[in-house]
């Protein structure tokens, strides 16, 4: 027996209240982890962006096109490993307009060189390279729409109006999180063939791969300098910067979620603080007895803080225990399947688990600080006089 074991045993003193408090902390931690996972899912695209890829778009806005010949100009620059281009297609499955997914036209050969994290069976890869109407789809939307290799599907264009027919040549997965598994890529030649001026021979953005990440900064400058004197200038940035600029549009929402998660933690602290303060008030007489037999004020603080940290940790542990299956197997799977464009990877991060467990203990200690101080300041004879 020692002071710590007594603190642990004290949590059994009023078991019903302890259970309610632990569940309260657990629910708060579950909500906290859910919000953190939403934030992480938003940021995962930025966090895992490839560092050796540079994206170049029209200097004015990303909705304006660049001339296709720019691709060859970039390819001629020193230090370029490979170059590809993409056009935002903006189509949807007829009758399923609300089910958003990213769909883009690209050059299959160079695309697979630049995005080497795409994993595609060799026969599917070979088929796509030769099929003018071919498309590859991420495993998530393949599951979502029930598409299989060999299917013929139709998409309804918005930027490029009309009904477009495609052959599903492959279903890809990604070996890194830098590419989501919920996009639709098809042959740019098919788009360009059907496009009318001014969309003909135009690309949405150019992606350049450099031999190593250290050269990305220099490549950004080199590309923009190349087109500086042309009628259409470019704005180049690393893939991470590009993804961050997209997030800028929802930064207010992200901040609001951050604030909500802090509010949840504060509520948790108040619940814990209230429970601990009640316990200290009820045990005033007992603390008087302990002081009488020689325990010092610091010992009483250890009892109070120890009990609080045990309660907080148990709550945090239960919260994490509930969050992992609920988010990873339930909410997460639903989000990945139905909102794959927004949340391609919706899983609880290990770092968030560590943060949640640490916070549950740290906040419990903070919540118990005032009751612990009050317990340590009790006068022995006053405490002994108090009953209940």
């Amino acid at each position: 027996m020692n002071l710590a074991s007594i603190a642990v045993k004290n949590t059994r003193r009023n078991l019903f209240r302890t259970v309610l408090t632990v569940v309260g902390v657990a629910v708060a931690m579950l909500a906290f982890l859910l919000l953190r996972t939403v934030l992480s899912a938003w940021l995962v695209g930025v966090e895992y962006s490839a560092k050796d890829r540079v994206a170049s778009r029209h200097k004015v806005t990303f909705v304006m096109w660049l001339p296709k010949r720019y691709v060859e100009d970039v390819r001629g620059l020193e230090g370029v490993k490979s170059v590809t281009w993409l056009n935002w297609f903006g189509a949807h499955v007829p009758g399923k307009e609300s089910q958003f997914f990213a769909n883009m036209a690209t050059d299959p050969k160079s695309f697979l060189e630049v995005y080497d994290e795409i994993s595609l069976p060799p026969e599917q890869r070979a088929h796509w390279l030769e099929d003018r109407r071919g498309a590859i789809v991420g495993s998530v939307i393949a599951r979502q729409f029930g598409w299989k290799v060999g299917d013929k599907i139709t998409l309804e264009g918005t930027i490029y109006p009309g009904l477009w027919e495609f052959n599903i040549d492959g279903v890809y997965t990604a070996t890194r999180k830098s590419l989501d598994q919920s996009s639709f890529y098809f042959n740019w030649a098919y788009l360009n063939e059907a496009a009318a001026a001014p969309a003909k021979e135009q690309v949405g953005w150019i992606v350049t791969k450099v031999p190593d990440a250290a050269q990305a900064g220099a490549m950004v400058k080199r590309i923009d300098k190349l087109f500086d004197v042309r009628d259409t200038q470019t704005l180049s940035m690393s893939e991470r910067a590009l993804n961050t600029s997209f997030l800028g549009m929802i930064s207010t929402l992200l901040k609001a979620m951050d604030i909500v998660s802090v509010v949840i933690l504060l509520i948790m602290m108040l619940i814990l603080g209230n429970t601990i303060a009640m316990g200290v008030r009820e045990r005033t007489h007992e603390y008087g007895v302990l002081r009488a037999i020689g325990f010092k004020p610091a010992h009483l603080s250890v009892f109070v803080l120890g009990e609080a940290s045990v309660t907080g940790f148990l709550g945090g542990l239960l919260g994490v225990g509930m969050a992992l299956p609920l988010i990873n197997q339930g909410v997460g799977r639903f989000m990945e399947e139905n909102f794959s464009g927004l949340f391609p990877y919706f899983r609880v991060q290990q770092s968030d688990v560590v943060i949640a467990l640490s916070l549950s203990v740290v906040l419990a200690l903070l919540a118990a600080a005032i009751p612990a101080y009050q317990a340590s300041k009790l006068h022995v004879t006053d405490a002994l006089r108090r009953v209940g």
Binding site: M1, L3, R13, E286, L290, A292, I293, K296, V380, T381
Partner: protein
């Protein structure tokens, strides 16, 4: 007020250090008068205690002079508000005096800081309360072991001493029981074991039989007499119960802060 007002109770406990019953009978009287063969353990000189209710002073103890010999079993009696619990708290080092000095075994308690008094209490005083005050989540043995956590003893040594203390009070077989599995009398005996486990010189008991039926109260009183006579503990007991007071070797009465 002098301590000459101490009353000998026939059939009470012995004078402890002075040995046998006969010696005790003569011993405590002479001790009370300052001429005992047993040395003085507790000496109060002009002790006063004043509390304040707002700005209004309330004098609880009035310039008390008192000597208690080593090995005595003293009962403090008096009506509610007479100051007996305050006197007990001062002797036990739980509270500080407003005036005067308290010496125990030659050590001046009134010169000590609160922290120093806490350490002194853990080594020299065992406490018995009316409502036992055992920790409900701990077993009897763990409750007894509690004061030993403040000592450098190993876990095994602490457990061994706790079991010895439980054996002294006849509850070794209840070592693994929690307080809610014990009767009132048994719980108070566990509290007594907790009071003696550090082998203190003095045991202070505040209404130790107040919550017990007559039979259990008698058992507790017999145990206190045994601690006094066999283990030579000096016992200071506050009680309202005349039957309990009869078991003491000296009875002192307080009224309105003075010994009568």
């Amino acid at each position: 007020m002098s301590d000459a007002s101490a009353t000998r109770v026939s059939g009470g406990a012995s004078g402890g250090a002075s040995g046998g019953d006969g010696a005790a009978k003569s011993g405590f009287v002479s001790a009370a008068k300052g001429g005992s063969t047993a040395p003085t353990l507790i000496r109060l000189s002009k002790v006063g205690k004043t509390y304040y209710r707002g700005k209004e002073p309330i004098e609880v103890l009035k310039d008390l002079d008192l000597e208690m010999p080593e090995g005595a079993f003293e009962a403090l009696m008096g009506p509610s508000g007479s100051g007996k619990s305050t006197l007990l708290n001062l002797i036990a080092g739980l509270d500080s005096v407003s005036r005067g000095t308290i010496h125990i075994s030659g050590v001046d308690l009134t010169a000590m800081s609160e922290g120093a008094r806490a350490k002194w209490r853990s080594q020299n005083v065992g406490f018995i309360f009316q409502t036992y005050n055992l920790l409900p989540v701990l077993t009897a043995a763990e409750n007894v072991e509690l004061p030993l956590l403040l000592t450098p003893l190993s876990s095994a040594q602490r457990k061994q001493r706790a079991l010895i203390a439980l054996r002294v009070v006849g509850l070794e077989d209840r070592a693994g029981h929690r307080p809610d599995q014990l009767s009132g009398g048994q719980a108070q005996r566990v509290a007594i074991a907790r009071a003696i486990v550090t082998d203190p010189k003095i045991i202070v008991a505040d209404e130790p039989t107040g919550d017990l039926d007559r039979h259990s109260a008698d058992q507790i009183l017999e145990l206190l007499v045994k601690l006094n006579t066999e283990l030579k503990k000096t016992i200071v007991m506050v009680t309202h119960d005349p039957v309990a007071a009869e078991r003491a070797s000296i009875v002192r009465r307080l009224d309105k802060g003075s010994l009568t």
